[in-house]
Symmetry: C2
């Protein structure tokens, strides 16, 4: 590789994403699938009533532990309409944040790799829960979201819009939100 090629490679930033970094990851994951195995994790501690607190210090991936410079701290609580004290977003709101942020990141990264420039991107997300399920009022009512609607407004060349819908389907959290996954729960006495 010539010096010019190396320099060109070093500045291949699209949508703020270092495309070469991502392309190199794709190549590395193709050659060694163990590198692609990521483990995300956190600890959560109940504070009082509807209030609990998560701490996120690191994730495992690319065959190494990847520590955050500072742990991320997230509060969750319940609105007073439901006997909480509103000291943080509620669990259903945190879920919508996970889904919206995952769709956004997936769109931006995949678009970057394909050379699709995104100038602005914002979304609104809304979901419906019938709380009779959670409260056990009616066991025919499901407990979780019955429907979720996501609406994106994207500033990009008009020819790109149709491609973006396909790219969104690569989102890990969209996959779980649509298809579910295995969740094992163990409860032990402290």
């Amino acid at each position: 590789m010539s010096i010019q090629e190396k320099e060109l490679q070093s500045v291949n930033i699209v949508n703020g994403v270092d495309v070469n970094h991502v392309v190199n990851a794709v190549e590395a994951f193709s050659e060694n699938e163990e590198l692609a195995n990521f483990k995300f994790r956190l600890t959560n501690k109940w504070i009082d009533g509807g209030h609990n607190h998560s701490t996120i210090t690191s994730c495992f991936g690319a065959s190494q532990e990847n520590t955050h410079d500072e742990p991320f701290e997230l509060n969750s609580d319940v609105h007073p309409v439901f006997a909480g004290k509103d000291r943080g977003a509620s669990p259903p709101e945190h879920f919508l944040n996970a889904l919206a942020s995952c769709l956004t990141t997936t769109l931006i990264y995949h678009a970057a790799v394909q050379g699709i420039k995104i100038h602005e991107l914002e979304s609104e997300i809304e979901g419906d829960i019938d709380f009779r399920g959670l409260l056990g009022v009616n066991d025919q009512v499901r407990k979780g979201y019955e429907n979720i609607r996501v609406s994106f407004k994207v500033k990009t060349d008009s020819q790109n819009i149709d491609k973006l819908e396909e790219l969104a389907t690569f989102s890990p959290i969209l996959d779980v939100a649509r298809n579910g996954t295995n969740v094992d729960i163990i409860i032990e006495q402290k």
Copy 2:
């Protein structure tokens, strides 16, 4: 109702939860199911690269708009191992926070209504994602979490532990995580 009964009712706090408030909600939702229809929502805005930002101002429920005193602001980003700048928890981490916090709140609230006193409760949650799915390296690999493990340690009377596993299954986000739901996505030009 005598004054004594009213006073007793007004101080029925278990696990920091106002049990009468919850019981009244159950009764109200039984009599008028429209009250139980909640809509959660947020707006998300892409900032740059893997960084985006959600704002949560209110939810609809109990036939009214329920505004947070201050909007909740949540940042999402990607770790540098994956070409991000780590300005917030990543979408898969936000998802685990939503699930852990929802399980915790569900356990605490249902336990409170049943008179089960919880003295301490904490959890660890971990999930596995093979990023070859997200990156389109192998279309046989699923994009989302393949497995999620949640481990609770609870300080309570030992006789309560077995009941808690059943109570956890009322969690709305556990329902979505295990069973999936309908997600509609619209992408339009801005």
